[in-house]
């Protein structure tokens, strides 16, 4: 919730980043030869830069409160781990095949998402369910829907 009278520093920082992104994209349009490809993105870029400047100036002159949440609780290492596991799965896919990379990512994310204690039952059942889910989806996509999922080159 916005807190009155406070400058939205985070929002202003994002707006500043948007101005930089806009300028970089604007520079890129100078390499385009056809005016048809330039007119629309340039209009949008000018709009984005204008709104960002207005937001920053408005926040300086009449601060109406920070609408930023920050990172509210929870484990940051687990968050980073999840993103790393998903990205790892995407990058390993062409080398290890979809099945192996998917299975590895599933198991890592399962470990990251486990907040209760590991009992002997869970240690046996959860990986088996994971294996069934991965194989099930693999079968659905690769065999039934004929999606050409990457295969491991060494298999």
């Amino acid at each position: 919730m916005p807190s009155d009278g406070q400058r939205d520093i985070g929002g202003m920082a994002v707006a500043a980043v948007m101005i930089v992104i806009g300028l970089v994209f604007l520079w890129d349009t100078t390499n385009l030869v056809d005016s048809d490809s330039v007119v629309f993105p340039r209009t949008v870029i000018f709009g984005m830069i204008l709104f960002s400047i207005m937001f920053i100036v408005w926040n300086f002159l009449r601060p109406s409160g920070a609408d930023t949440e920050g990172v509210q609780g929870g484990s940051t290492p687990r968050r980073i781990g999840l993103v790393a596991a998903m990205l790892g799965c995407a990058f390993l896919m062409p080398y290890t095949g979809f099945l192996l990379s998917g299975l590895a990512a599933f198991m890592v994310i399962m470990l990251l998402a486990m907040h209760e204690g590991w009992t002997r039952g869970r240690l046996i059942v959860y990986p088996l369910i994971g294996l069934a889910v991965v194989l099930g989806f693999y079968g659905l996509f690769a065999k039934a829907l004929l999606v050409p999922l990457p295969e491991a080159p060494f298999l």
């Binding site: 992104i21 385009l32 870029i45 709104f51 209760e116």
Partner: protein
């Protein structure tokens, strides 16, 4: 007398009932999986239809299409991820409802709204197809441009906290959609030499990234359940949902008509229909300030509109041979393989057997969606709320990866999806919501194509102003757009004047 009523009984054979039931179930399940769209569901199952009579083939494909559009609502409500792009606006109120423990009610409301929309769309197809098909032909590039801008006005409704942040996000989305090969001139834009970005940002991957990955990032970090769970079993909550639906019957009918009309426009599709209907529902609602926080009317508007596009989309497909939506294009291809020649003659007395059997089959599939949708919805809800987090999070993460890959068989799309997800999560921390970005992403190509083509025609005819502001349909859309933008201000002013007059 209903047109082609003789064919009602042809549509009600056990074989057709079985096809419609199987199609609705398959479509609902496929639509519920993020990344698998209605187009893909139909495309995969098209070869099955080559061995069937054309009317039976159409019934099966229509049933899959109807089910898939509805199925998209499950993931939207329970995971904040639109299962299909048509369900984008369902996330706005569906997920907040699920978070506060009303996910079961939201799913039932979505089912009732989808059935209503499906019936109204099919009724338009049955009764008014040939005259309505002419409306589609009246839409030129400029009208599409204004329609896209009309959709963009929804940013004002979706900008919780700060309108300026919403506008910045909307522009950012429009810009992201410009990455890759340009719509009109085929120039390569904003790739900065990267091969990965050449194909641009795929919309469904972006939707999965911006909506689903942030939810996963927060789910993995805390032990608390991501949806509130009620202690006692509350069944389907059908009576409650029926009561709410009856109260907002006008919203359901209006949204279904909007969905049908947008569905008729080639290329517009369910996502735009849902957004326009949501915008109209919000504008006309007495509880407009509750939209975006879990307002049932928001779900009803979107779900009735997107299912109405099924019937609406078939109108130009069958009358003009111009597909109204991407799944219609696949269905049209399948019909051509079968040797069916589309055109107004399909609706005449002599040749009506295929089309009328199909339309009654569509009614049948829509009716079957009620029991199957409620059952599958209840099962999906119970699964999502009871499965332990250690299994739910990796399963959803795995589904997002495989679903994104399957769209274009491209690993780069998976990486882009995850990066967009992290970006969406970070921006959300600073009050920049994902919905305006998504709105920009979806509407960018329609807006750009319409704008550039309109500009070219206007410049060639030396009548730019007349081209953009002088055409009757364009004027009507501009009027709606202005009304949508300024109605809250006008209503506030009128209320203020009334209160002042009352005080005197």
């Amino acid at each position: 007398m209903l047109p082609g009523i003789d064919f009602l009984f042809t549509a009600l054979t056990p074989f057709h009932i079985a096809l419609a039931l199987g199609g609705v179930i398959a479509g609902t399940v496929i639509g519920a999986l993020p990344g698998l769209t209605a187009t893909m569901a139909i495309a995969v199952l098209v070869p099955l239809t080559f061995y069937m009579p054309p009317a039976s083939a159409l019934i099966l494909m229509g049933a899959i299409y109807t089910g898939a559009i509805y199925g998209g609502a499950y993931a939207a409500i329970l995971l904040n991820t639109p299962g299909t792009p048509s369900a984008i606006a369902t996330t706005f109120d569906g997920f907040p409802m699920a978070k506060r423990g009303d996910g079961d009610l939201a799913v039932t409301l979505a089912c009732l709204a989808s059935v209503t929309g499906g019936f109204i769309g099919a009724a338009f197809l049955l009764g008014l197809a040939p005259p309505l098909a002419r409306v589609a032909l009246a839409f030129g590039p400029v009208e599409y441009f204004w329609l896209a801008l009309f959709g963009l006005t929804l940013i004002s409704a979706l900008s919780e906290g700060s309108l300026m942040k919403g506008l910045i996000g909307g522009c950012f989305g429009l810009l992201l959609a410009c990455i890759g090969v340009a719509e009109v001139s085929s120039d390569i834009r904003f790739t900065f030499g990267s091969q990965t970005l050449l194909g641009g940002i795929e919309i469904v991957s972006a939707l999965i990234g911006l909506y689903c990955v942030p939810v996963l990032i927060d789910m993995v970090a805390t032990p608390a359940r991501h949806l509130q769970v009620s202690g006692e079993s509350r069944g389907f909550r059908l009576n409650e949902a029926l009561r709410i639906s009856l109260k907002s019957k006008l919203n359901l009918i209006r949204s279904s008509v909007v969905g049908t009309l947008v569905g008729i426009l080639p290329g517009a599709g369910g996502s735009i229909a849902g957004l326009v209907a949501y915008s109209e529902a919000r504008r006309t609602s007495k509880r407009r300030e509750r939209f975006g926080t879990g307002e049932p009317e928001g779900i009803q508007a979107t779900e009735s509109a997107n299912n109405a596009t099924v019937g609406g989309g078939f109108i130009p497909t069958l009358v003009l041979g111009i597909p109204g939506t991407p799944p219609d294009a696949v269905i049209l291809g399948a019909l051509l393989v079968q040797g069916v020649r589309t055109g107004p003659h399909l609706f005449t007395a002599g040749e009506g057997s295929i089309v009328y059997t199909f339309i009654y089959g569509l009614f049948l599939a829509t009716a079957l969606m009620l029991p199957t949708g409620l059952l599958i919805g209840r099962y999906a809800y119970r699964t999502i709320v009871t499965v332990p987090k250690a299994l739910l999070v990796p399963t959803i993460a795995f589904m997002t990866v495989i679903g994104t890959f399957a769209i274009r068989n491209n690993v780069s799309d998976v990486a882009i999806m995850i990066i967009l997800g992290v970006m969406g999560w970070t921006l959300n921390r600073f009050g920049f919501r994902p919905s305006p970005i998504v709105l920009g992403l979806i509407l960018s190509s329609i807006a750009e194509q319409g704008f550039v083509q309109g500009w070219t025609i206007g410049a060639a005819t030396e009548n730019l102003m007349g081209m953009f502001f002088g055409r009757p349909i364009a004027i009507a859309i501009i009027a709606f757009m202005l009304l949508s933008l300024f109605y809250p201000l006008i209503a506030r002013r009128l209320r203020f004047n009334r209160e002042e007059a009352g005080a005197k």
